[in-house]
């Protein structure tokens, strides 16, 4: 039985474990000291400790990952997203160690991984881009100079980065020095590389990206687009497939450009070409993510494909199993559930999950990295689950997502579920009047509970605090429970008028 090592943690490690199971491959997990009890470890056939909690001492240490593969006899390696997934040097080391790298070639990663190099490549392929620096900034002055030439605001980005980490908006030349220092510091700590560069910041654009898939026969196809404009702190929080702003003609053009961009680096495996879509319908290449995306499930649900098993098949040298370009059906929405407290400025909320009720039922897919009783460590990204809702149209998908969020329950830590419940009631979100800046001007206001809910909660808290309250639990045996007490005659909830 082939063994595949997953150089990652959390929900994406579990996503890859599931793909392994579906293909009859034995999954190998790695774990830091903070993750010994993590779900991705317990779902794997093999598990290897790789060091202390900080990622730079465990999940980012190439030698430890290669040793873990050797120890367990793994012959394939999937990097997931984040961590070393877009590190060409790592991919090269994996290949040199004789392992099958589940991803694009190190050269493709290197070309697309450097934002400056990638611009040169796609420009040659005729792909439109936003004005930006083509080499990393050597100084704050260089960035200020670029801003004076092209206008503010600018966006500072880590050259080796992705996923919004280490990105900063600079609205004037005065802000440049402090932002440059911060961005470099963050780039160094996330990507072990402090190179940063600047580009023009297009106002109120949408973020729309195209999923591509290439195999070793040279075939490259596009599998539709995703709408990812709802971002907070430059981090996507809600994604949709398709984009309600993209019609068939625009989709065909974006897909063609995305395939051209992928071809410019002879792309093999699953990848994503990100575009800024301006209000006037023009779109600009942003970057190509040379890995699986967090939001890949919305594409999977709409197009009926399994992108991760395709990646593994392609890595084994097989042609992709999609004989014809898959056709879309319906609409899917994903909410990224974070361990953070929306009522306290989205402060991280690590800790033990006492109870976890995940949504289920028609149209709902959940990819979760934790289960009830697990501890969310403070050392990593706070995303604990992805809720995905599919519907025949966007309206049905929205209604099902609201249902999924309402039905969920997390006790012990706070999550972004209440934030999403509010967000999905916003008329602009419902009507798809959004841009990447939408959430900058949107603040979460905790919903004041209706009076019956408030009264019931106060009574419950009082009962919980009273002696003996804890003694009454549902019957343990599978027998008839105790009945409700004497019924009150009042005609309203708990005696309150509605």
């Amino acid at each position: 039985m082939t063994r595949l090592l997953i150089a990652n943690r959390g929900e994406i490690a579990i996503r890859v474990i599931r793909a392994c199971r579906d293909l009859g491959i034995s999954p190998v997990a790695v774990y830091s000291e903070a993750d010994r009890a993590a779900l991705h470890v317990r779902l794997a056939d093999w598990a290897v400790p790789i060091g202390p909690a900080p990622a730079r001492e465990s999940y980012l240490v190439v030698e430890k990952l290669l040793d873990a593969a050797k120890k367990t006899g793994a012959t394939m390696l999937h990097p997931g997203y984040g961590f070393l997934s877009e590190n060409a040097a790592f991919a090269r080391r994996v290949v040199e160690a004789g392992l099958t790298w589940v991803g694009p070639s190190p050269d493709s990663i290197a070309a697309m991984g450097s934002k400056t190099e990638s611009r040169r490549r796609v420009l040659e392929a005729g792909v439109p881009i936003v004005p930006g620096m083509t080499t990393p900034a050597r100084s704050a002055d260089e960035i200020a100079e670029f801003g004076r030439e092209n206008g503010f605001p600018l966006l500072l980005k880590a050259a080796a980065g992705g996923g919004g980490k280490g990105m900063r908006v600079v609205r004037s030349a005065e802000e440049v020095p402090a932002a440059f220092t911060r961005a470099r510091s963050e780039a160094r700590s996330y990507f072990a590389d402090d190179a940063v560069y600047a580009e023009l910041f297009v106002e109120h654009p949408r973020h729309v990206e195209v999923q591509v898939l290439g195999d070793t026969t040279g075939r490259i196809i596009a599998v539709g687009e995703r709408e990812c404009s709802l971002q907070r702190r430059h981090q996507k929080v809600l994604e949709e497939c398709p984009s309600a702003a993209v019609g068939p003609e625009l989709r065909a053009r974006m897909e063609a450009v995305a395939v051209a961009a992928a071809k410019s680096v002879d792309y093999v495996s699953a990848g994503t070409v990100e575009f800024l879509l301006a209000k006037d319908g023009r779109f600009f290449f942003l970057e190509m993510n040379t890995r699986i995306q967090v939001e890949h499930p919305v594409t999977e649900m709409v197009y009926g494909v399994d992108l991760v098993t395709e990646m593994i098949r392609i890595a084994r040298g097989e042609p992709m199993s999609l004989n014809e370009k898959p056709a879309p059906r319906g609409h899917a929405i994903q909410c990224r559930i974070y361990a953070e407290d929306p009522a306290r400025g989205f402060a991280p909320s690590p800790g033990r999950i006492l109870r976890l009720r995940r949504p289920q039922g028609p149209g709902i897919r959940v990819d979760s990295g934790v289960e009830g009783g697990d501890v969310v460590p403070l050392d990593y990204d706070p995303m604990i689950a992805k809720f995905v809702a599919w519907g025949r149209d966007r309206d049905e998908a929205l209604r099902r997502m609201r249902r999924a969020l309402s039905e969920s329950r997390v006790d012990g830590i706070e999550t972004s579920i209440p934030f999403f419940l509010s967000l999905l009631e916003d008329p602009d979100v419902v009507a798809n009047r959004i841009s990447t800046q939408f959430l900058d001007g949107w603040s979460y206001v905790p919903k004041r509970p209706p009076e019956d809910v408030a009264a019931a909660s106060m009574v419950a808290a009082a009962l919980e605090s009273m002696d003996g309250a804890k003694k009454r639990r549902p019957p343990a045996a599978g027998s008839s429970g105790s009945g409700p007490g004497a019924w009150r005659t009042a005609r309203t909830s708990f005696g309150l008028r509605e």
């Binding site: 980490k165 963050e186 996330y190 702190r233 361990a339 953070e340 929306p342 009522a343 306290r344 402060a347 991280p348 909320s349 690590p350 006492l354 109870r355 403070l378 990593y380 990204d381 706070p382 969020l405 329950r409 006790d411 209440p418 905790p446 919903k447 004041r448 509970p449 209706p450 019956d452 809910v453 408030a454 009264a455 019931a456 909660s457 106060m458 009574v459 419950a460 808290a461 009082a462 009962l463 919980e464 605090s465 009273m466 309250a469 804890k470 009454r472 639990r473 549902p474 105790s482 409700p484 007490g485 004497a486 009150r488 009042a490 005609r491 309203t492 909830s493 708990f494 005696g495 309150l496």
Partner: protein, 174 residues
Amino acid sequence: MKFRTRFADDKAGRALDVTAGAPSFEATLEGVPLSGDALAVRDGVWSLVGPDGRQIEVSVAFKNDGSVRAYAAGCLFGFELLDELTARALAATGGRSTRRVAHAAAAMPGRVLRVLVAPGEKVTQGQPILVLEAMKMENEVKSPRDGVVASVEAAAGQAVSAGDVLVRFEAGGE
């Protein structure tokens, strides 16, 4: 048993008197009689069914600062729940809000990335005094008051827990 409950934006608070507990509770909230069936489903999770059939599943948790965290019907909210004696004692001393905070504490667990102030330094309310990192996010800790830093209790690289004192202020000062 008598309680006082209060939302953060609700100055007066309300009197809650529970005269019968689970399973058939009876209570009054500011004089309004409440009753129904209460079932403790799990520790901290209750299902309440009113006389008219209204069902509400409530999660309650008691936080370190004495407040209650509640989640019910899609609403996440907090309130104070004090037994009446404690409430009266607090009211007599003017409540907790009259005391001047003597320190800045960590609101969440994390690692100290940078310390931005030193002992003897004057700070104003809202000024960033420290940067904490948790879950790959940098979070600025802001000064809760105007004052003078007496001591810094955390160093860069150090792991801190929620509630740990980070910076102490000199007494009085402004």
